[in-house]
Structure formats: structure tokens, C-alpha cells
């Protein structure tokens, strides 16, 4: 429950900051989208799998949003977000069928390769995709309202916050659920899963869809925010940043991804102020330190892990009869 309260406080803080300092809205929305994407990556990390190509689902969703909105400028922002998620889910479902047969480095690399295919194709077919400069889209109506920029951004901010809260809770519930436990089982012992009558691939496929959907949502939000989508959204370095955040936050608790995202944004802000062009140095250093010092990430070392464990149990496997 403490985790829940923490996230609510966090959400409130974001909202206040965004309303008081208008320029903060953009970094906060970007940060939340990173958090959502990293949450997706963290889901797979539960199964011990790390994808270095999940930015491709942000990209799929982003371009879906752009294409739709350019075709039907009157389409509502919320619908566009939904469309983006659906596109990512569909892509995830299809690609998932193939990649769930792979593990560890091969899993990571195949995802990487697929994302690079998408990245290169989007960059190439200029007439359709606008090439590496991507596609611009006009500000769509949002939740039925025609908003000017400040209002529009606030709306996006609120949407991002609510989505993060809701999905964070859902994913946390999933972690605790039967499917989630089985997912974690893939990390430790697939043979046993098989001998318990479960299909590791199917379980991983479910997790893969979830992660794709989350990355899709993240992409859709960013694209609506900047009114522009470019292949960069799917470049492997961005996937790497998702992984970075997920590792930083740890996959012990859904909250981790968002904590990681905050740290990431702070590093970027501080970095660009101190080191100008060479801020990525800080990222690298942080990543290495985290892996050396706390490979399980922030939520892995914080007591929050224990709360969530006890919480998972209550959430998921309620006794039908008798004691727990």
C-alpha cells in the first residue's frame, strides 16, 4: 500500500509542478512516457529477458498516431493514443510469436535487429514516412476540447499521470498474479514450468504483449506532445535508455520504472547544464555504478520490495478457503 501512496504523492507533485512552471510540463510528460516504456521493459526483465529493441513499439504507435491524425485531423487525441496502443499491441503480438522462442542475448539481439529494420525502413521511404525528418501533425482536439497549447499540454500531462497510475497498479497486480509468478518462473526454471503443464512461450508472449503496449502508449504520448514523429523514436539507443531506466529502477516493483525515469530526467537535466554536449557520460557512469553496486535496481534495495512481496500475495492468490 505504501507504494501506492508514494505513487499518488508523486503524481500530485508532478501535476503541481506542471501547473506552476509551464515549461516543466514537457519534461514531466516525456519523463512519464519514459517511465511507461521502462515499465514495459521491466515486465520482460521479470522473466529475465532484456529487449534492446522495444523503442520500436513506441515508433509503431508514434507513426500510427501521425498517419491517422494527418489523415483525419479532427480525430480526438485520446482516440489517437488508443489507436497507437492497439497498433503496438498488434505488432507485439505478431513479433512476439517469433521472439518468445529466444532467450537472453539472442532475445535482446533479435529485438534489436527488428527495431533496426523498422528504423531504417522508416528513414528510407521518404514519400510515405517523411524520411529521417519524420512526420509533423497539427494539435488534435483532446477529450472533445479544442485546446490551446498550455491547455493541451496540461491535458496530456493529466492523461499521462492517470495512465501511469492505472497501469502501474495493473502491472504490479500482474506481477503478483498467477501469470506474473509464472513469468518470473521463466527466469529461474523453464523446464519446471513445462513440467507443471505451462507453456513458457505462451507466458512470455503475454508479457511481451503487455510490454509492447506500454512502450506504444509511451510513443503515442511523446508524438502528441511534440507534434512530430521521427525514426529516432525507434533507434536502438532509445531502447537502450528504456533498459537503462528499467535496470536503474529495478523490476521488483512497478514503481521502479517511474523512479528510474525521474532519475534519468534529472541526470539529463543536470548533465546538459554541466556537461553540455557530453551529458551521456553521466548516464554511462550511473549505469555502471548501479550494476556494480545494486544490480537489482532501486526497488531491489529499497524496503519497498518487501512491502510489494507481502502485497503481491494478498493481491493475487487469495485463498478460496481456509487460511493464507
Amino acid at each position: 500500500m505504501i507504494a501506492g501512496i508514494l505513487s499518488l504523492i508523486g503524481a500530485a507533485v508532478c501535476l503541481v509542478l506542471g501547473l506552476v512552471f509551464p515549461w516543466m510540463k514537457v519534461p514531466i510528460i516525456v519523463g512519464l512516457s519514459y517511465g511507461l516504456a521502462a515499465l514495459g521493459v521491466a515486465v520482460l526483465m521479470r522473466a529475465g529477458q532484456v529487449s534492446f529493441g522495444h523503442a520500436m513499439y513506441s515508433c509503431v504507435a508514434g507513426y500510427t498516431v501521425a498517419f491517422l491524425s494527418r489523415a483525419y485531423p479532427a480525430l480526438d487525441g485520446l482516440l489517437l493514443v488508443l489507436a497507437g496502443i492497439v497498433a503496438a499491441l498488434v505488432a507485439g503480438a505478431i513479433i512476439g510469436l517469433f521472439v518468445v522462442r529466444y532467450r537472453e542475448i539472442f532475445f535482446g539481439m533479435l529485438n534489436l535487429a527488428l527495431s533496426m529494420v523498422l528504423y531504417s525502413v522508416l528513414g528510407k521511404f521518404y514519400e510515405i514516412t517523411g524520411g529521417t525528418d519524420g512526420l509533423r501533425l497539427e494539435r488534435p482536439p483532446f477529450a472533445g476540447l479544442r485546446l490551446d497549447r498550455p491547455g493541451y499540454e496540461t491535458a496530456l500531462l493529466v492523461t499521462a499521470l492517470l495512465a501511469s497510475l492505472a497501469l502501474g497498479t495493473l502491472v504490479q497486480r500482474y506481477f503478483g498474479s498467477a501469470a506474473g509468478e509464472a513469468l518470473a518462473g521463466i527466469k529461474t526454471n523453464e523446464t519446471r514450468l513445462e513440467y507443471l503443464g505451462m507453456s513458457a512461450r505462451r507466458i512470455l508472449w503475454n508479457g511481451y504483449m503487455i510490454s509492447a503496449g506500454l512502450c506504444g502508449l509511451a510513443g503515442a504520448l511523446v508524438v502528441l506532445l511534440q507534434g512530430l514523429v521521427t525514426p529516432e523514436l525507434g533507434y536502438w539507443v532509445r531502447s537502450g535508455e528504456f533498459v537503462f531506466i528499467a535496470i536503474l529502477g529495478g523490476s521488483a516493483h512497478a514503481l521502479g520504472a517511474f523512479i528510474g525515469a525521474v532519475v534519468f530526467q534529472v541526470i539529463q537535466l543536470v548533465g546538459t547544464m554541466l556537461l553540455a554536449g557530453t551529458w551521456k557520460m553521466l548516464l554511462g557512469a550511473t549505469l555502471i555504478i548501479v550494476i556494480l553496486v545494486a544490480p537489482t535496481g532501486i526497488t531491489g534495495v529499497l524496503p519497498i520490495k518487501r512491502w510489494s512481496r507481502s502485497r503481491e500475495r494478498k493481491l493475487s492468490l487469495q485463498p478460496v478457503t481456509g487460511k493464507s
Binding site: 501469470a179 518470473a184 523446464t191 507443471l196 505451462m198 485463498p319 481456509g322 487460511k323
Partner: protein
């Protein structure tokens, strides 16, 4: 009735024949002990029967169904449980969570949304913990268990699936000999209580004679002798080759 039947089962790795045209049958209610030197093909045969390895030729039936091309999970759902020489546990889960997973397995792979709210009969799990003597360790991480307890948890997970047949690969290996009998006793009573047919690989003659109704002795991919313990152990060839005694 007949639980397992194999017809002309063959498999070879490279040059080495690990299953040499095996025709084998196991009846409900039997307690089969499999003996044989390491590399004789005991585990390989189990892996083939449980669908982990594909036979090069031959067919396998489990309680009447042809399972020759079935993956392990399919056969498991038909009522075949299995434990391993090296216990296959979820070391990052607690003992109880391991059993909960097994219980989920029995429900079968659920669609995602259902499994979010899938609930498990805890009383069943508590009971299994009791009969396998793990009741006290329920909230421990599986990684914290000793070798003997790991064996028991390994078997307990199989039991939660309520199998008709439980195949145990060396349930007492790596356990101090004084513990062996105690562990075997626990397991066998648990099985007896649920009327589970058992098939276990075992080296210790005492254990075998005490718990088995039938013994199959393996020599280089073949069943060299099969029958009542006293008969099999009477065979000098078996004594020499399998037990290494005269």
C-alpha cells in the same frame, strides 16, 4: 489398467545408443524401482517418456493416449508428474509460491485476464506441505532449503498436480543415508494416501527392496531384467553389472 506403454522405442546420441528398442509397460498401482549404472539410460528413458526428448522411432502411450509427439506440458495434463535428479525449483520464489505455481499449472495456461484473478486453493497447498514435511518452511525462499528439502519440494510440486503417476529421478541421491529412509517413507506415504503409481530411480538396494513392488535393471540402453525385487537381485549378472557385488 495400463498407465505407460512404449513400443520399440529407440534413441541414440551420436554413436551411443541410449534407448535400444524398448518395449515397456507400467500398470496402475505398481511401485517401480529403476536401477542401473550411471549412463545406462535410466534418465534418458524418463526424458523420452515425459516428452522432453524425442525418440528416433517407436511410440509412447500414457493411460491409453498416444503421447509420442506431445510436449511435457501436454503429458503432465494427462496426469503424469515428474521430479528431477537435480531438483528443478523456482529458487527466487518462496516454497509456498512454488506450490502455488504448480497449482496454477494444474488449472492450465489461462488467458491473461483470467490469470490476473486466478485464485488457488491454499488448503490443498497447506496439506501438501504437511505430507511432504515442509509445513514449517512454507515462507522460506526455495534457495534457502537444504538438499533433502529441495528433493521434497521438487516432489511436492509434482504432487500438487494430482498426478496418476509420479516419476522420481533419484529422490534420495545426495542425501545422507540415515535421511534416505525417512525421506522415502514420507514420499511413499504421501503417494499411497493419494493412490499415486510411482516409478523411481534408486541405487540403494535397501530402499528398493523396502519400497518397490517391481524392479527394472538397465544396462547400456536396455532393460536387462524386470520383475519382483527378489528375482532381479537374485540374477548374478545383474548383481555384477548393476550393483557391482558378487
Amino acid at each position: 489398467m495400463e498407465l505407460v506403454r512404449t513400443e520399440n522405442l529407440c534413441l541414440a546420441f551420436g554413436g551411443i545408443v541410449v534407448a535400444d528398442n524398448i518395449n515397456f509397460s507400467l500398470q496402475e498401482g505398481e511401485r517401480l524401482a529403476v536401477i542401473g549404472a550411471n549412463g545406462a539410460g535410466k534418465t534418458t528413458f524418463i526424458n523420452i517418456v515425459t516428452g522432453y526428448l524425442r525418440a528416433r522411432s517407436g511410440r509412447i502411450f500414457f493411460s491409453g493416449t498416444d503421447v509420442t509427439k506431445m510436449p511435457p506440458r501436454g503429458i503432465v495434463h494427462l496426469g503424469l508428474g515428474r521430479s528431477f535428479q537435480l531438483p528443478q525449483l523456482f529458487l527466487q520464489h518462496t516454497v509456498r509460491q512454488c506450490l502455488e505455481l504448480a497449482a496454477v499449472g494444474r488449472i492450465g495456461s489461462l488467458p491473461l485476464l483470467k490469470s490476473l484473478s486466478a485464485s488457488v486453493d491454499q488448503s490443498e497447498i497447506d496439506h501438501t506441505l504437511e505430507v511432504t514435511g515442509l509445513a514449517a518452511r512454507g515462507e522460506e525462499m526455495a534457495s534457502a532449503l537444504g538438499e533433502g528439502e529441495r528433493k521434497l519440494l521438487d516432489i511436492a510440486m509434482a504432487l500438487v498436480l494430482r498426478p496418476k503417476l509420479l516419476i522420481m529421478d533419484e529422490p534420495t541421491s545426495g542425501v545422507a543415508s540415515e535421511e534416505k529412509h525417512e525421506i522415502m517413507a514420507t514420499i511413499m506415504s504421501a503417494l499411497a494416501e493419494r493412490k499415486v503409481t510411482s516409478w523411481f530411480v534408486e541405487h540403494d538396494v535397501d530402499v528398493v527392496t523396502r519400497h518397490a513392488t517391481r524392479v527394472a535393471a538397465w544396462i547400456s540402453g536396455r532393460i536387462a531384467a524386470d520383475g519382483k525385487p527378489e528375482q532381479v537381485f537374485a540374477d548374478p549378472e545383474i548383481r555384477r553389472q548393476v550393483l557391482g557385488t558378487h
